[in-house]
Amino acid sequence: MAIKQISIFVENKEGKLVTITDSIANAGIDIRALSVADTQEFGIFRLIVTDPEKAKEALESSGCFVSITKVVGVSIPDEPGSLAKIVNILARHNINIEYMYAFITVSKKFASVVLRVADNEAAEKILTENGIRLLVEEDIVSM
């Protein structure tokens, strides 16, 4: 069920970001969402893209250190309280969120949230039981 996130290790060095964006652009891949976690020394780029496998291949061939991370994607109404609702559900069930980020698609009716948790299946089960719609790979492509 989980969706695939591209995670890229990037040293804080000149030109590193260009390599990433260029190789994704040249492979004709659309970026749906992007989040960066950074330290003084390096950053981890996290991307939701239309074709994760192809993106990984393209990035690797240009020398990037890449991995595919399974994350939970949910679709929530773009209105006050939506995010609070899912965070509350997870908190009630003691599911830790390692990190999360959200993005809005053109329709503007729904927002998408990417959640990184230790146990994807457990999180997905609880969210589904609480009536939250999970994103699947096809959703990402058709957005």
């Binding site: 290790f9 040293e11 976690a37 950074d38 330290t39 390096f42 250190f65 991995s67 390692e98 990184r116």
Partner: protein, 439 residues
């Protein structure tokens, strides 16, 4: 009372007498080592040399060399020439793959070593009225123990500060009126900078001189230290394998370091062929210990490249002089006064599940050596959560500290990201060279 020499009979011995003394001592020492040290006896037998072949220092070249590898091989007791019950001390350097160099001392060995350090202090102008602040590290490292012992021998008031805690160093220096500073040159420079920051002028301290060694430094650094602290800065040379600091020391001339030739014979060899080179030529320094009892090394290859000079010195000492080491004939680095071999770093990486794909970057910034190691991750080291990578860096740093005795900064980097020239990774980038430091 101001003395010119600590042991004038030895230090100014006419050269013919000195040679005779060395001849006698060498013959005895070789016999003793042959009888007591199986490891070296085997080396001599293998080379077909017997103690009878050694009639004086002109026969020295016949003896086999000892290398650092031999010390590791024979670790810990294989080169011991005295009964363990007669030994009173060990000192040690960090070593490769967990095996350190451990040197043993009898009481006579400690006395000899401390005499050598006292000679160095007196040559710098020290007397029993001085206050000698020793901020070399104490413990297994020979720096602290050596100068501490020398200062005691001389009768100076000794401040056993050890390294670090600069605020406390400065407080003691000011309150007790230290007149001599003993530490690594980079720490001396650091103390100088700190004094300046705190608003002290060079004339505010009572320091007159400093004995600085255990790491490479330049004439430019010497001038900076002398200016900032208002002192005269002297160089000292030594290695744990022979005793510690004090194997050679500078006199007021400051033109090379006098080697204590009544205790140590110095040779210069071609590091490739092992051939002995004439005095004045550049090559690897080799030492033979004439008086050491517990750990008497014969023809020990220091890997330090230098030049010797027999030119007469105006200080009156007859002992031969050596230049500062001009480089190494192996890949050892001296970082913050500590000997570091790339092989040690490789051993830690392998023990901790990393491939030996790394790059060491050394620099000197604000008079302190910086020490960084880039290490390539393996695929399984990847994490999308930064703290996981940072924690791995911390764990590796702790393992390095245990092995090396100093803390490098570890940077995990992407696989295959360390540049390779002609397929071979450049292992060491020593940026201190830009400061003219011989590394």
């Amino acid at each position: 009372m101001q003395k010119r020499y600590f042991q004038p009979e030895n230090e100014t011995m006419p050269l013919d007498e000195l040679k005779k003394l060395q001849d006698e001592k060498l013959v005895k020492q070789v016999k003793r080592v042959y009888e007591n040290v199986k490891y070296y006896r085997d080396l001599m037998d293998e080379k077909g040399v017997s103690p009878d072949d050694i009639k004086g220092i002109d026969d020295l070249h016949k003896l086999p060399f000892l290398k650092k590898d031999d010390l590791r091989e024979a670790y810990p007791f294989g080169l011991l020439a005295s009964d363990l019950k007669d030994c009173v001390r060990i000192q040690s350097t960090s070593g490769t793959t967990g095996k350190r160099v451990v040197a043993f001392y009898t009481q006579n060995d400690v006395d000899l070593w401390e005499d050598c350090c006292a000679r160095a202090l007196v040559a710098a102008g020290a007397t029993d009225e001085d206050v000698c602040q020793v901020c070399y590290g104490y413990g297994l490292f020979t720096g602290g123990a050596g100068l501490h012992g020398g200062s005691h021998k001389l009768g100076s008031l000794t401040l056993p500060m050890s390294s670090g805690n600069t605020d406390r160093q400065i407080q003691f220096m000011m309150d007790l009126g230290s007149t001599i500073l003993c530490c690594t040159p980079s720490y001396a420079a650091y103390i100088g900078e700190t004094l300046k920051e705190k608003g002290y002028k060079p004339e505010d301290n009572k320091l007159k001189m400093g004995i600085f060694g255990a790491e490479p430094w330049t004439e430019e650094m010497r001038r900076d230290i002398e200016k900032n602290l208002g002192i005269k800065a002297y160089d000292i040379y030594g290695l744990t394998e022979l005793s510690g600091p004090g194997v050679a020391f500078e006199c007021e001339e400051q033109r090379g370091m006098h080697i204590n030739e009544d205790h140590f014979i110095a040779e210069i060899i071609n590091p490739e062929t092992g051939e002995v080179l004439p005095v004045g030529e550049k090559g690897e320094l080799v030492f033979t210990s004439l008086d050491k009892e517990a750990f008497p090394l014969l023809r020990y290859r220091t890997r330090d490249i230098c030049v010797l000079s027999r030119e007469k010195c105006s200080c009156g000492r007859t002992f031969i002089r050596m230049t500062k080491p001009l480089g190494r004939s192996d890949d050892m680095m001296i970082i913050r006064g500590v000997n570091v071999f790339p092989s040690q770093i490789e051993a830690v990486l392998l023990n901790n599940g990393y491939a030996p794909n790394y790059q060491i970057i050394v620099d000197r910034i604000n008079n302190t050596d910086t020490f960084d190691i880039n290490v390539e991750m393996k695929d399984e080291d990847f994490s999308d959560i930064p703290i996981n990578i940072t924690n791995k860096e911390k764990a590796l740093q702790a393992a390095m500290k245990t092995m090396l005795g100093i803390n490098p900064k570890i940077h995990l980097v992407a696989p295959k990201s360390i540049e390779r020239s002609e397929g071979k990774a450049v292992r060491i980038i020593d940026k201190r060279k830009r400061l003219g430091i011989n590394v």
